[in-house]
Amino acid sequence: MTTATPLTAISQTPTIAVTPKAAGQWRRLPLKAKIGAIVLGVFVLAAVIGPLVMPYDPSYSNPAPSLALHAPDSAHLLGTTQSGQDVLSQLLVGIRLTLELALSVGLVATVLSVIVGVTAAFLGGLWDDLLSLTSNVFLVIPSLPLLILLLGYLPQKGQLATIVVLSGLGWPWGARVIRAQTLAIRNRDFVAAARETGERTWRIIAFEIVPNEISLIAASFVNTVLYAIATSVALAFIGLADLNSWSLGTILYWAQSQQALQLGAWWWFVPPGIAVALIGTALVLLNTGIDELGNPRLRDAARSAMIGGHRQRPADPTPVWNQAVPAGPLTRALRPFSRSSLLDDPRGGRS
């Protein structure tokens, strides 16, 4: 199995619960997920067009003394720093750098966790023991001290180094969850059917297993992005980052080290913090939304029916993989012949 396999599988899946193409599917998303997606979209937009529309060079220090620590006005919408730099421009560049880092870490770490998780569950035996042990060990070793140690030793603490180190420590949780899920579905009928028809292992993994774990993988991706943002901002705040570049963390580092709050310059310190918080909240909302899509019990009580003055909750939540993603054409064709398919997949069985 190569690195590219799960990725292509993800992009080729006909319907993905998280990024619905049709308007009808968008409407089916829980409200939380919609709000999360919109807020996140605004920040991604800011990251993409930010450097094009930013009013000043973020590193340009205006020597005019009247422009040092200037409160927000029409010329500088978010005021200026101690050395007369424009906070808004720094913020726009900072959002791009932070999102770039977080998304790269999310992508690399998720691919790693899919590879490790699926491989462990499929190979079984000694490999499974070894891979599970590795991910459990790295789960239990506290990551921030290790990250501080690693970055402390590195001579250059640039963006790439941070991405590599964060991804290298960010995969175990996802791997564990995906391994458990793969173990659960690898003995199901449609996989057995694919195996009976002589499909090769990598094809079963890429077209039967991974597409059915897509919502889990998406959740793991969102979680990893969240971890990357929180950790990278904290590391930059300690000073373990390239302090000459502008990310949300380094803006906060400079604001703190030059005592922005003590000097009353809230416009310098508060906006980057709020930006991190908003991105984080959007991701959490998105994740809860994905969760609720899969587990109807967690949905708003307003949606469940009131019968006899009592709330009725669905007794048996349909598993995620049955709701969101239709099985491959082959499985659909074989389903009528499978004995337990009615129990297996209520939606497919009825149609």
């Binding site: 070793i141 506290p142 001579p155």
Partner: protein, 327 residues
């Protein structure tokens, strides 16, 4: 017993991995760390430089295997070398001074957050869709704020502007540490705001997890049966549902300790609290490598030990674990 032994073996492996990673990091990084350190600390004696090269593996003092064995035996004798920043104090003695501060403050705050979050989660799960659920988006936002940001804003507002709390440090600068009332009361006074910030930022996580497990547990047949029997609500909630929902929460407690420790490091940096996190920051900004490595090991071992304790508690609390072990 087999379960306990298996877990013990797992933590031994984890400890060994941590030790080995710690051993190889300085040797894998390019550049001569010793020269960099000697440049920063001109008053170091040549003997210290020699010891440093032996520890960091520069200049090939013996084979790699020999270095590894020496390193392991040093760690087992709690010999982490001399500290560079506060030369010639030993790293071990400096650690001994700071660890009690961290343990007292972070331990208390974590237990408070865990208990309060669990109780709120039980209520939130039981009254699913009630007023407590309305606060969830707010709690999520609170949790998404970078910890240090929230703490700094609170220091500015509550300590600097209103003067309700001291702005930082572990105790009043004028007092000498000792077991007398004026020192202890000052220490408590200085710990209220840091503890408060830890509690409000970690509360939501515990609450959310407990709530979600509660909701799933309440759907179980035996809870419905208990309700159908006409048992009073509080009995159903606490002795039927919450008792079982607590087990995943306990399991999560072990894994969450890593995050708790990370939060504690940042907390101490923000509040200049005289614990192990502040020691780590000072070590990092001064490239004090022996101290950084020792702190990493101490923190990791503490987390592993706490996890082992949680596992032992689970053996007693969860009959399923015992049953699995018997079969």
């Amino acid at each position: 017993m087999a379960f306990v032994l298996r877990r013990l073996a797992f933590y031994l492996v984890a400890a060994w991995v941590a030790l080995t990673v710690n051993f190889f990091i300085p040797r894998a990084v390019p550049g001569n760390a010793v020269e960099a350190i000697m440049g920063k600390f001109p008053n170091l004696q040549p003997a210290a430089a020699k010891a440093l090269s032996a520890m960091l593996g520069v200049g090939h003092p013996g084979s790699l295997w020999h270095q590894y064995v020496t390193y392991l035996s040093d760690v087992f004798r709690f010999n982490f070398g001399t500290d560079l920043l506060q030369y010639p104090a030993s790293v071990t003695s400096l650690l001994g001074e700071t660890i009690p501060w961290t343990l007292a403050l972070v331990g208390t705050a974590t237990v408070i957050a865990f208990l309060a979050g669990t109780v709120l989660g039980i209520i939130g799960g039981w009254r699913h869709g009630g007023w407590l659920d309305k606060t969830l988006p707010g709690l999520m936002f609170l949790q998404a704020i970078p910890y240090f940001f929230l703490a700094l804003v609170l220091i500015e507002l509550l300590a600097e502007r209103i003067g309700l709390f001291p702005t930082g440090q572990g105790y009043d600068g004028g007092l000498a540490p000792g077991w007398n009332w004026s020192f202890i009361s000052s220490a408590i006074d200085h710990s209220v705001l840091p503890a408060f910030t830890i509690v409000i930022t970690s509360l939501a996580g515990w609450m959310l997890q407990m709530r979600n497990v509660m909701i799933t547990t309440i759907g179980e047949d035996y809870v419905v049966a208990a309700q159908a029997k006409g048992l009073p609500s509080h009995r159903v909630v606490f002795t039927y549902a919450a008792r079982n929902a607590l087990l995943p929460q306990l399991q999560g407690f072990g894994l969450a300790l890593g995050f708790v420790v990370s939060g504690a490091i940042i907390m101490e940096i923000v509040f200049s609290y005289p614990g192990i996190g502040l020691l780590l920051l000072n070590a990092v900004s001064a490239s004090d490598f022996p101290m950084m490595q020792a702190i990493f090991l101490v923190i990791t071992f503490a987390v592993l030990l706490a996890n082992l304790v949680v596992d032992l508690v689970l053996v007693f609390a969860d009959p399923r674990v015992r049953a699995k072990e018997a079969s």
